[in-house]
């Protein structure tokens, strides 16, 4: 099986769908001729033509708004927002329009579209290239929100997202584009070719939206993670030596509560980790669901390890980024009593 980076896997997914389905179109800022600032669409315009892959003006609400028009007409746009930090101008179109179409028109108009965007920090991008806005989308009924952590899932989930009958927010942890990241920026970079999850089948396959992946079986406690934090969790376990179960959520909305519940019922302890700011972050929703579903099994308070409630700093990036040390401390805390 060929080994791919997450960038190549995403590109391959779009290539597959462009080839299979004439209603698929790809557009966004710098995605056409150039192929995207992260190169995710490189070569796709040359291969499929300008009518299928093109550049847009710098206006995220226009990207979303035109995509909605196309999707309600019957096409399947898959658009890119250059950084998740720049999705806010499109927030109205995505949450009040794309998310509402099917419901408000009672099925007359539907909105099968995908909005891809690089998310998360760890690249010294400062407060406007590092944000994790997932919770702003999981609060919106009518949207689905997914976030892969491997090239294999990235391709499979993106194909599933493009084929989904409803709008999907597709968050790409940019720190994982070229390899897994275990939270130590001074350690030698690992490439996907050195990781099993870098093996990506050619052609069409999909990973179902709404199913979590148990990345590691364990009995001491359950770690709920997604994106870059999955690898931070692995690193934290190295330090703590605990036998934790690591669940990679992959899909935040809909959420695979069944998998989470059976794990926490088994371990009785739970730690939630994400990069986004804590207050009203997606971790809050996870804690709320777990404490309700597993209350009688919980043996210690559910811990949240998150980005601090402050803008993502440039210089102090590694004091902000929830790394293995901070997570390990929370794991220890969760094991108390």
């Amino acid at each position: 099986m060929p080994s791919m980076t997450m960038i190549e896997a995403l590109r391959d997914a779009m290539d597959v769908k462009l080839s299979e389905d004439p209603s698929v179109v790809i557009f966004g800022e710098d995605v056409g001729y150039f192929g995207g600032v992260f190169r995710c669409t490189a070569g796709l315009q040359a291969k499929h033509g300008q009518n299928r892959v093109f550049d847009t003006p710098i206006n995220e609400s226009a990207i979303a708004g035109t995509a909605i028009g196309m999707a309600t007409h019957g096409m399947r746009p898959c658009v890119e927002v250059q950084f998740a930090d720049y999705v806010y101008p499109a927030y109205d179109q995505l949450t009040q329009e794309a998310a509402r179409m099917r419901h408000r028109s009672n099925g007359q108009f539907t909105c099968p579209m995908v909005v891809r965007m690089p998310t998360g920090g760890g690249i010294f991008g400062g407060q406007t290239h590092s944000q994790s806005p997932e919770a702003l989308f999981t609060h919106v009924a009518g949207l689905k929100t997914v976030l892969p952590s491997t090239p294999y899932d990235a391709k499979g989930l993106l194909i599933a997202a493009i084929e989904d009958p409803d709008p999907v927010i597709f968050l790409e942890p940019k720190r994982l584009y070229n390899g897994p990241f275990y939270g130590d920026h001074e350690a030698k970079a690992v490439s996907w070719s050195q990781h099993a999850a870098g093996d990506v089948p050619e052609g069409h396959y999909s990973v179902p939206i709404g199913k979590a992946d148990i990345r590691r079986d364990g009995n001491d406690l359950t770690i709920l993670a997604y994106g870059t934090m999955v690898y931070v969790a692995e690193a934290a376990l190295q330090q703590s030596g605990l036998d934790a179960e690591i669940i990679d959520l992959r899909s935040l909305l809909p959420l695979d509560l069944a998998t989470i519940q059976s794990s926490v019922e088994k371990t009785g302890r739970c730690v939630v980790v994400h990069e986004a700011t804590r207050t009203s972050g997606f971790g809050a929703e996870l804690v709320a669901e777990v404490q309700e579903a597993c209350f009688w099994h919980l043996r210690s308070p559910i811990q949240r390890v998150t980005g601090w409630d402050a803008p993502y700093p440039h210089a102090a990036e590694w004091d902000y980024f929830p790394g293995p040390d901070r997570l390990a401390r929370a794991l220890a805390k969760a094991m108390e009593d």
Binding site: S23, V25, N51, T56, P57, N59, S61, A62, G65, T66, A67, I68, G69, M70, T72, H73, G74, M75, P89, D92, Q93, Q96, E97, R100, M101, R102, H103, R104, S105, N106, G107, Q108, F109, T110, A141, G142, K144, P165, D166, G210, P254, L255, L257, A258
Partner: protein, 411 residues
Amino acid sequence: MSKAPKLTFPQPPARPNESPDFSEIDTGVAGEIGVPPFDIQARDSRVYANGLIRVMDHDGKAVGPWVELIADQDASALRQGLRDMMKMRAIDRRMLNAQRQGKTSFYLQCTGEEAIGCGFQRQLEKGDMNFPTYRQQTLLVAADYPLESLLGQLYSNTYDPMQGKQLPVLHSSRDHGFFTISGNLGTQYVQAVGWAMANALTGDGKIAAGWIGDGATASNDFHSALLCASVYEPPVVLNIVNNQWAISTYTGVASGKSRTYAARARGYGIPALRVDGNDYLAVAAVSRWAIRRAREGYGPVAVEWFTYRAAAHSTSDDPSAYRPKDEAKAWPLGDPIERLKDHLIGKGEWSEERHVQADAELLAEVTTVQKTVEEAGTFVNPKPMSPSLIFDGVYAEMPEHLRRQRQEMGV
């Protein structure tokens, strides 16, 4: 003469207890502005964007070069246009009443603006798509949308194709080329451009029409729409309905120092025209020109329909608080129904008697349907549908957490 910077605050010509004053409005002369070629460029459309295209003169005669574009619109076609407008007004009359009686939670009229949607719709083909605002019910009426569905939506009962999901007047009918209306202003204007891009990409031969009010031209999506139309040149007609008011806010607060809304669109490199929206013949002719032009691949065009919102903004509004009571009567371009009526009478194709009779017939038609529909439930006397409908259509397939919530609801 240097002066200290001061802010300007645009003011309407008259406020309550002042007498209406439209002396600043230059209505031009009917027939004076020509028909531009299909391949006209924005830069050459100044006279069309800053002037006012009119076809009917003061005696209701059709004059000027636009007339031949609607040469095929014989008397029966025009009578149909008149009936469309009269039917719309009959519906407004009945439904305003129904709301006053508490039978619906909300209503909104389009009095004085009937010519625009009615005249435009009759020039569209099946498969073309309008992205309307809440004030273009005229598009549905002139598309022969079943009255049961139209009224059903207003009563949120089983006749409502949307099963009571949406506020009254936020209709949707894909089959009638009427896109689902959002309560959020502006959002659909750029969606219309996206739809038109799909028209071009799929080559389906259809076009899209965006609709926006003068106040909502201030919204970001107005800009996005004009921008994308200018960049990609899809087959879209971008309609701007300038009825002088946005709830209590004078149109000057949206136009600023722009000469016209058409002129603003022209700045985006899109050919633009300004038209007397109370002149059914002008509406029909310009609509036909714009729609054909888009369909034949000449790209987007913006049309400012110049009119006046004669009624209150909605049943939640009382305009006497911010404008002279009799301002509507003073509107220099008159009433669209009266004007088309006079035109037809002048041609010997209509009469006061037939008009009165038609009015009665239409009111009767509406009233009959209204009775039937009301039996399925009104706001004072609702016949609730299953509450679980709330969860239908949030997604194509209901996810687990919605199933759990539906159970929790206990239905």
